[in-house]
C-alpha cells in the first residue's frame, strides 16, 4: 500500500492521470503469439467518422523502420513519435480510441510532409494519404493554442493570395506595416514569422514590377503541344523570371503556352495543412480555369503545386460534380521537366559551362517520382557539369509553410542541406521549387557561403538562348546575398566567380 500524498505523478497525460496513469496499465501476457492488451483509452477518440485516416492503410505498416533514416524530424531528434512509423502508430492509437492530445497533434504537425518515407517504404504504405486525412481531422477537431491559430490564420490569409503577397514585395519596412502585422497583431508571433520572411524578402528580386506574361505564347517552329501553365502564388510574385523562363522554354520546344489570367492558388498549402474545404474550393476553381482554356496538359513549375494538382482526383472524389473532371484534370498535369522529357528536345542547346548541384524538391522527387527528367535535361546542356548532393533524399526544411510554423527545426534542416550543397563545390544550386530555393539560400547566407540559385528551366532557358554563365547569374531570380547585408543583395547576383 502506498501513501497517496507520497505519490509523485510524472505523467503528462490529458486523461485522469491520478487514477489511471500509464504505469498502472494492465500488463500484457508475454506468452505465445497473441497480441498484448493495453488499457482502455481515456477521453474522446481522436478521430470522427468523416474521412479518418484509413485503418487498412495504416495496417500496411509492418514496423520495419526503413522510413526512419529518411524522415527529417527523426534525423533531427531521433524520437520514435517524430518518425513516420511513430506517427502511423499514433494514428492507429487514435483509431483505437486514444484521444487527440496536444502531444499527439504536435507530432502530426511536426511532419514536413516531404514524403521521403513513401519512397523508402518497401511495404508500399501510403503515408501521404494517411497524414493528409489526419491533418484534416486535426484542423476540424483540435483547438490549438491561440498563438498557433493566429499564426496559421495569418499565413493562410497571405500565401494563397498573389495580390496580398505582392504587397509584401517592398522593402522590409514596408511589409512590417502591411496586412500581416495587422493580422497577426501579437509581436511574439511576428518575431517568429519575421526571420523567415526577412530572409525571403532579402532574397527576393529587386522591386521591379514583374512584366505580366501574355495570355498566350505561340510555339516556335512546328507546334507539338498545347499546354496550360500554372503561374502559382509564390512563384508568380517572388520568382516571375522562372515563369517567364518556363513559358519561353516551352515555346522554344514547340508548345503553344496558354496562361489563363483568372487562375489563382492551386490549394497545395491548404491540402497539406488539413484545410480540406479551402483546398477543395481552390481545386474546383483551378480545374474550371484550365478546363475553359482547352489545353492538352497543364504544366507546373513548382513541385508542391504539381504534386497536389496530381492528387485532385482524391481531393474531390466525394464531389459528384467534379469527381470525373478532377480525375481527367489530374491525369493531364505535368511538371515542366516531365513534359519536356516526354516531348524530347528540338531546340538547339548552346554550351553553358557551369557546375550545378541539383537538389530534389521533395514534392517533385518523393511525391511525383520525378528525379531522372530534370537531371537528364541538365545533362543535355553542353558544358554543364552536374553534381549530386549528399543525403539527397532528406528534406531541406522548407516544406510549404513548415519553415514559418517550425522555424527552428526548419533552420537546422536548412543548414544541413546547405552544408551538403556547399560541399559539392558547385557554382549553381538548381531545384524545381521556390520554397527550397529560399530555404537553402537563407541557410547558405547564414553560414557565410555563396552559391547561385536557379530553377531548372532558367538554366535550360539560358542554354537555349545562348547566354553565358555570367549573363545567366546576372539574370537569375536569386543569388545568395552577401553575408553581411541582407536587403540589397538581390541587386547584385553573385552566384558565380
Amino acid at each position: 500500500m502506498t501513501d497517496p500524498t507520497d505519490r509523485t505523478d510524472p505523467t503528462e497525460t490529458t486523461g485522469t492521470a491520478e487514477t489511471d496513469p500509464p504505469v498502472d496499465a494492465p500488463r500484457g501476457t508475454l506468452g505465445d503469439h497473441g497480441p498484448i492488451a493495453v488499457s482502455t483509452a481515456p477521453g474522446i477518440p481522436a478521430f470522427d467518422a468523416h474521412r479518418p485516416p484509413s485503418a487498412e492503410l495504416a495496417s500496411d505498416c509492418v514496423h520495419c523502420g526503413f522510413c526512419l533514416p529518411t524522415c527529417p524530424t527523426y534525423v533531427l531528434w531521433g524520437e520514435e513519435m517524430d518518425s513516420p512509423r511513430g506517427r502511423i502508430y499514433l494514428m492507429q492509437a487514435g483509431l483505437d480510441g486514444e484521444p487527440m492530445t496536444d502531444a499527439m497533434v504536435g507530432h502530426f504537425d511536426a511532419c514536413l510532409g516531404c514524403m521521403a518515407c513513401v519512397t523508402a517504404c518497401p511495404s508500399g504504405v501510403q503515408y501521404d494519404r494517411l497524414i493528409e486525412a489526419t491533418r484534416a481531422q486535426v484542423e476540424r477537431r483540435h483547438r490549438r493554442p491561440l498563438r498557433d491559430r493566429l499564426l496559421r490564420e495569418a499565413i493562410f490569409a497571405l500565401f494563397p493570395h498573389p495580390r496580398r503577397l505582392r504587397a509584401l514585395r517592398g522593402p522590409l519596412a514596408a511589409y512590417r506595416r502591411s496586412g500581416l502585422q495587422r493580422a497577426v497583431q501579437r509581436s511574439r508571433v511576428l518575431d517568429r514569422v519575421s526571420p523567415t520572411l526577412a530572409a525571403m524578402e532579402a532574397l527576393a528580386p529587386p522591386v521591379r514590377p514583374a512584366p505580366p506574361l501574355p495570355a498566350r505564347v505561340a510555339a516556335r517552329g512546328e507546334r507539338r503541344a498545347v499546354v496550360g501553365m500554372l503561374t502559382g502564388c509564390v512563384q508568380r510574385e517572388f520568382f516571375p523570371r522562372v515563369n517567364a523562363a518556363t513559358a519561353r522554354v516551352l515555346a522554344m520546344e514547340g508548345c503553344d503556352v496558354v496562361i489563363p489570367r483568372r487562375q489563382g492558388c492551386c490549394g497545395a498549402l491548404s491540402v497539406h495543412n488539413g484545410r480540406e474545404a479551402e483546398a477543395q474550393a481552390f481545386a474546383r476553381r483551378t480545374i474550371d480555369v484550365f478546363d475553359a482554356a482547352g489545353v492538352e496538359h497543364v504544366v507546373v513549375n513548382a513541385a508542391g503545386c504539381g504534386s497536389s494538382m496530381k492528387e485532385y482526383a482524391d481531393l474531390l472524389a466525394d464531389d459528384p460534380a467534379y469527381a470525373d473532371l478532377a480525375r481527367r484534370f489530374a491525369a493531364s498535369v505535368r511538371d515542366v521537366s516531365e513534359i519536356l522529357a516526354e516531348l524530347g528536345p528540338v531546340a538547339a542547346r548552346h554550351p553553358l559551362p557551369v557546375t550545378v548541384a541539383y537538389h530534389d524538391a521533395c514534392h517533385l522527387g518523393h511525391a511525383q517520382g520525378v528525379r531522372a527528367q530534370p537531371r537528364d535535361l541538365l545533362r543535355g546542356v553542353p558544358g554543364l557539369e552536374l553534381r549530386e548532393v549528399a543525403d539527397a533524399d532528406i528534406c531541406c526544411g522548407s516544406a510549404g509553410i513548415y519553415n514559418l510554423l517550425h522555424p527552428v527545426a526548419a533552420g537546422e534542416l536548412g543548414d544541413r542541406k546547405a552544408r551538403a550543397v556547399l560541399d559539392t563545390g558547385a557554382e549553381l544550386l538548381v531545384t524545381a521549387n521556390p520554397g527550397c530555393l529560399m530555404q537553402v539560400a537563407a541557410s547558405v547566407s547564414r553560414m557565410g557561403g555563396r552559391i547561385g540559385l536557379a530553377h531548372t528551366v532558367e538554366v535550360l532557358d539560358a542554354s537555349l538562348r545562348g547566354r553565358t554563365p555570367a549573363q545567366l547569374t546576372r539574370e537569375l531570380a536569386l543569388a545568395t546575398p552577401e553575408p553581411t547585408g541582407g536587403a540589397s543583395a538581390g541587386d547584385t547576383p553573385t552566384g558565380t566567380r
Binding site: 496513469p21 504505469v23 498502472d24 508475454l30 503469439h33 520495419c64 531521433g78 520514435e80 486514444e98
Partner: protein
C-alpha cells in the same frame, strides 16, 4: 504488488527528470505507445517510462536509478529487431539510445572506428568510405539498424558468409553493467587479458547490460566486386549450385537464394526484373583482389550452368548490382505486397541439408495450404521462410504458426539452430529448450547471474525461465522469488 512496482517506477521517472531533464523522460501516454513494439510488431507492451539518454553517464544514471528501485530496464536502438528483443517492460524503463549517435573516431591506419550505440550501421561504412574502408557486417536493415542493437543481437547479414558476424568485428566495448558501473572491455588492440567478456556480451540480447560505446574493425574496401544473378528451374538446382561452389573451395562474399514466391513479392515491390519463370534465383557475389575474383567468378558461373541455370546475368555496373540486391534486401517487407500478414523464421541448417529441408518445407506448405516464401542466406544455411497468412481469415494465423513451428522442428532435426541472426528475444524464448538441455541453459544463466543477479536487464527475454542467482539448481519449489516480485514470468 502492482501498486508497489508502479510507485517504484514513478520514483525512477521523477529522479530521472531531475538528473537528465524533462526532455529526456517520456511518460505521456500517446508518446509511450509509439515505443510499444520493435520490428516484430505482434508483440506489444507499453513501457512505463521512456528515457532518451545522451551520454554514458546518463545511461549509468538510468541504470543506477532502476537498480536502486528494483525497476527493470530494456535497451532499444532503432527498434528494428525481429525477435521482440526490445519489447518494453510494462513496469519498466525503456532506454532508447537513438540520440547517442556520434561517430567518435574513424581511424583507417588502425582499421578501427569508434561509435556510439545509436549510430546506424550503414553510417559506419559511409564514414569510412572516403578512406577506402567499410564495416563488413551488413544486416538487411543496415540503413536503419543501430550499432548497439547489432552488438546486442550479434547481427549478421548477407556478407557474413565470408566476413563473419558482429562478434568477429567488435574489438572494444564500453558497457553499463546492471549495477550501474561503467566497464571498458577491449579496445583497438586484440586479445585483452582475462575472460572474453566482450565476446560473451555480443549477442547477449540486452540481458547483460547496455553498451554505450563500440570499437569495430574496419575492412579494406575490396579491389573488385563481381555479382551475378542466376535463374534456376527450382530450388533443388540452385541448392546444387551452392554446394558445388562451396565444394570447389570458393568462399564467396555472399550467396543468397530466393524462391518463386519471394521473387514475385520483390518484383511487386521494387521491380527488380529478375528472369521470368525462375523457380529460384541465386545472387552470388565475389570480392577481393581483382585477379582472384576473376578466376573464381568463372568457376562460379560454370557451377551455375552445370546445375541448369537457364539465365545468368552479370552486373555490368554498380547500378545493376544495386538492383540485384534491392530485390533481395527488400524481400521481407515486400512480402507485405502479396500477403496481408506473415511470420518470418530464422532457422539454420547445415548447408548440405538445404535441398532436403526445402523439399520438406514445400511438402508442409502443400499439405497445409499455407504459402511459404523462401528467402535465405544459402551459403551458411540460414533460412528465412516467410509463412504467409491473412489474419482476417479465421484459422489462418493458427495454421501459419503451426507451419512455422514445424519448419523450426526441421531445422533442429537437421542439427541446426532456431535462430541464425534475429536473436531469441521474446519470440523464441520458448523454443530455446528444444536446442539446449536444462543444464545448458542453467549454465548460460550463470553468466547472467554474474552480470545481473537481480534480473533487471531486459528480463523475460532469451531464457524461458530465469535462474535464481546463487541457487542450487533443482532445489527450489513453489513460485520463483522473481515471479513473486513481478519481475519474471513462467511460460
Amino acid at each position: 504488488m502492482s501498486t508497489d512496482t508502479g510507485t517504484r517506477v514513478e520514483h525512477v521517472a521523477a529522479r530521472l527528470r531531475t538528473e537528465l531533464g524533462d526532455d529526456a523522460v517520456i511518460t505521456d501516454r500517446a508518446r509511450l505507445r509509439t515505443y510499444e513494439c520493435d520490428g516484430l510488431a505482434h508483440y506489444k507492451v507499453t513501457p512505463a517510462v521512456v528515457v532518451l539518454p545522451r551520454t554514458t553517464g546518463q545511461v549509468a544514471d538510468v541504470v543506477r536509478a532502476c537498480v536502486e528501485h528494483g525497476v527493470p530496464f530494456v535497451a532499444r536502438g532503432s527498434g528494428t529487431g525481429l525477435s521482440g528483443g526490445a519489447l518494453p517492460h510494462a513496469q519498466g524503463v525503456l532506454l532508447v539510445l537513438s540520440q547517442m549517435r556520434d561517430v567518435i573516431a574513424v581511424d583507417p591506419d588502425d582499421q578501427r572506428a569508434v561509435v556510439q550505440p545509436g549510430v546506424i550501421n550503414l553510417q559506419v561504412s559511409r564514414s569510412a568510405a572516403p578512406m577506402g574502408y567499410y564495416y563488413a557486417p551488413d544486416p538487411s536493415s543496415q540503413q536503419i539498424c543501430s550499432m548497439g542493437g547489432n552488438v546486442a543481437e550479434n547481427s549478421g547479414g548477407a556478407h557474413c558468409l565470408k566476413y563473419g558476424f558482429t562478434t568477429n568485428h567488435v574489438t572494444g566495448l564500453e558497457l553499463v553493467v546492471p549495477d550501474g558501473s561503467v566497464v571498458r572491455l577491449g579496445g583497438r588492440a586484440p586479445d585483452p587479458p582475462g575472460y572474453d567478456l566482450m565476446g560473451a556480451f555480443v549477442g547477449s540480447e540486452g540481458t547483460l547490460g547496455v553498451t554505450t560505446e563500440i570499437t569495430v574493425r574496419l575492412t579494406r574496401a575490396p579491389e573488385a566486386v563481381r555479382t551475378l544473378l542466376a535463374a534456376f528451374p527450382s530450388t533443388d538446382e540452385a541448392g546444387g549450385a551452392v554446394s558445388a561452389v562451396i565444394g570447389a573451395g570458393v568462399v564467396p562474399a555472399a550467396i543468397e537464394m530466393m524462391d518463386a514466391l519471394a521473387i514475385e513479392a520483390a518484383e511487386a515491390a521494387v521491380h527488380c526484373h529478375y528472369p521470368e519463370g525462375a523457380g529460384a534465383v541465386l545472387v552470388v557475389e565475389l570480392d577481393g583482389p581483382a585477379a582472384e575474383v576473376e578466376a573464381q567468378f568463372v568457376e562460379v558461373e560454370r557451377h551455375c550452368r552445370d546445375n541448369r541455370a537457364f539465365e545468368i546475368r552479370i552486373a555490368a555496373d554498380e547500378a545493376e548490382r544495386a538492383l540485384f540486391w534491392k530485390g533481395r534486401k527488400s524481400a521481407f517487407a515486400a512480402v507485405g505486397r502479396i500477403s496481408p500478414d506473415y511470420i518470418v523464421q530464422d532457422g539454420v541448417i547445415p548447408r548440405t541439408a538445404l535441398p532436403e529441408v526445402l523439399r520438406r518445407i514445400a511438402e508442409l506448405s502443400r499439405g497445409s495450404g499455407v504459402r511459404v516464401a523462401n528467402v535465405f542466406h544459402a551459403g551458411d544455411g540460414n533460412l528465412h521462410p516467410l509463412v504467409l497468412f491473412d489474419d482476417g481469415v479465421p484459422g489462418e494465423a493458427e495454421h501459419a504458426v503451426q507451419v512455422s513451428a514445424a519448419i523450426l522442428d526441421l531445422c533442429i532435426e537437421h542439427g541446426g539452430s532456431i535462430t541464425g541472426e534475429h536473436g531469441v528475444g521474446m519470440d523464441k524464448a520458448k523454443h530455446l529448450p528444444r536446442m539446449y538441455t536444462d543444464d545448458d541453459l542453467d549454465t548460460m544463466q550463470m553468466l547472467r547471474c554474474a552480470f545481473d543477479p537481480a534480473h533487471l536487464s531486459n528480463p523475460g527475454k532469451v531464457f524461458p525461465t530465469p535462474r535464481l542467482c546463487g541457487e542450487i539448481p533443482g532445489r527450489h519449489k513453489g513460485p520463483h522469488p522473481l515471479q513473486t516480485a513481478g519481475l519474471a514470468e513462467v511460460f
